[in-house]
Symmetry: C2
């Protein structure tokens, strides 16, 4: 590999000159420029980014910490983060934490060691304080999707409360009066907010939230199944379920199918996220769409602002909307 000095030697100038020319830090006469350009072409010179970074202290790379890059939601987010970062000339280091606090901390350390300029962090566990402590004197970090309470970082979230409100209202508008809700880990921002949206819709409609109608544990398919089974075991079962993630909703679908019930005839269902598979399941899932592309774009934008010394917005809320498919039906009072 040719180095800057090789280029300089061929062009008959000093390495300094070549470096400054390449970084637009010097005005050179056309003849010199041409000699340098020719030397670069001739040697097929490509700057050694490692050396450049070491010397400037700027890595021109950001880190993306996700719970699991194998999950379609995070994968989509990662894809747009990557392409947005690339537009700004930044590379992206990705890491999956597998939802484990220790790995999360390790990942953040590693990111720092790899010398990234900033971090986009997606967590999906309620923080016990260790994350907050680790990030305490860190700026240059943008939190996406879920919160880490107690630190003054820039955040990019969606309108969880509104989404849940919309979902619940949609069910109410279809005549449902007894609606259960299934959610992720208590303590998580998105869970709290989605629950709040559900409760607001119920309250505004003058509907009661019965005991046993709120089931929180985690955003997994298997909990979707388990929660549904527990709902079906009640004496008075609801006529509709709001599953606050599409993974949960798929679990609900499976449990209902196992129980011989069909959606939406026997039970209406609304999900949350609009995962790629939401329109492929049977029936296609009515759900709340999160603007994935917009989230990724925003997170990168905020981080770039931080990196350029511009104050980033402390909190960005992205709008969600209801995607009506075929998992909700008009409520039919049980015949006789």
């Amino acid at each position: 590999m040719a180095t800057l000095s090789d280029v300089a030697a061929v062009a008959g100038v000093s390495p300094t000159t070549v470096s400054r020319y390449l970084n637009n830090n010097i005005a050179l006469p056309a003849s010199t420029r041409e000699r340098i350009d020719a030397a670069i072409a001739q040697l097929d010179y490509r700057p050694n980014l490692l050396a450049k970074r070491l010397s400037t202290g700027r890595a021109e790379a950001i880190g993306l910490v996700t719970p699991d890059i194998g999950n379609p939601f995070f994968a989509q987010l990662a894809a747009v983060v990557e392409s947005e970062a690339e537009r700004h000339g930044y590379a992206v280091y990705m890491t999956s934490t597998h939802g484990d606090r220790a790995r999360e901390i390790e990942a953040i350390r590693r990111m720092r060691d790899r010398h990234v300029d900033g971090l986009i962090l997606m967590s999906n566990r309620p923080d016990d304080g260790s994350l907050a402590r680790l990030l305490a004197d860190d700026d240059k970090v943008v939190l996406m999707d879920e919160d880490v309470p107690g630190i003054g970082l820039s955040r990019v979230f969606v309108e969880n409360e509104v989404g849940a409100y919309l979902a619940t209202q949609h069910l109410i508008a279809a005549g449902h009066r007894h609606i259960a809700v299934i959610g992720g880990p208590p303590g998580l921002l998105s869970v709290r907010e989605r629950l709040a949206g559900y409760e607001r819709a119920m309250t505004e409609a003058g509907l009661a939230v019965h005991e046993g109608d709120v089931l929180l544990q985690d955003y997994s398919r298997s909990f979707g199944r388990a929660a549904t089974e527990s709902i079906l075991a009640q004496k008075r079962t609801p006529s509709a379920i709001f599953a606050s993630s599409d993974y949960l909703a798929v679990g609900v679908l499976q449990a209902l199918q196992n129980a011989g019930l069909s959606v939406p005839q026997d039970m209406s269902l609304v999900g949350f996220d609009d995962m790629p598979f939401a329109e492929m399941v049977n029936p296609p899932l009515t759900t709340i769409r999160q603007p994935v592309a917009e989230m990724g774009r925003m997170a990168v934008e905020q981080l770039m602002a931080l990196l350029n010394g511009i104050a980033a917005a402390p909190l960005t809320r992205l709008p969600v909307d209801l995607v009506v498919r075929r998992s909700v039906a008009q409520f039919q009072p049980r015949s006789i």
Copy 2:
């Protein structure tokens, strides 16, 4: 941030000593070791990886070039590549090419600029030769999933031919005698091989492949739909379809549904890949499972071998298997 010299100063030794100690290149008496350890702990020293890499020339990072990290298949692969690489102490740089040749080339260049030690490359376009040329004098690259013909790199593929054979045979065993096949871009290794497996099964069973029964274009949902429409427009329609990717299969499902046909009653269907959504669609898709985890593991293993100067296997074939779900039914001759 504390540097090596800071540690050396605090410990009362030279930077050389600390460096060699940290890299197990020197035997030191316990007292000295303790002083260095104490200094490291006291200063919370973490080596600057950038400097280390510049000086050693080893990046301890690999590049992963995928067509699209947002696609669940590649995302899953990426997830296991990442965790496997991490086990070996390597970081992973990921890039998506969006199936564009120019971006692919750019990605490979960038990877090199970022100074990765090796590359795992997944392409999904037939190469026009430019990729082969670019990689010609490159070792330290392993090709996964699809081929780039004409270069002597290590490759990790699945048993495409066997998989397609299994899928077709499964349909034949259910009594189907007229089976169409839908596939990706002609020229792609996986497409050729899957087609070959289909043909072998048909030939062995003494079945004819009718004109218009082989439709190749790309591995997309929309082509799955289009191909199905074209199949349904024929005078004699098949009773079963082998869609050589699950994306295609979902498209087939949608087109059949639009046409008022139900699977498997009116048409049997087998997919390929066993994407996460395959068991969520309606009906759950009978398909050929690719061993995603195994592929990722293998690719990393081969690359690590290369990086350690051990010759890697020129070609690894991973086995696939049939996952029977509910999209295939016994053939029913049309009544009257």
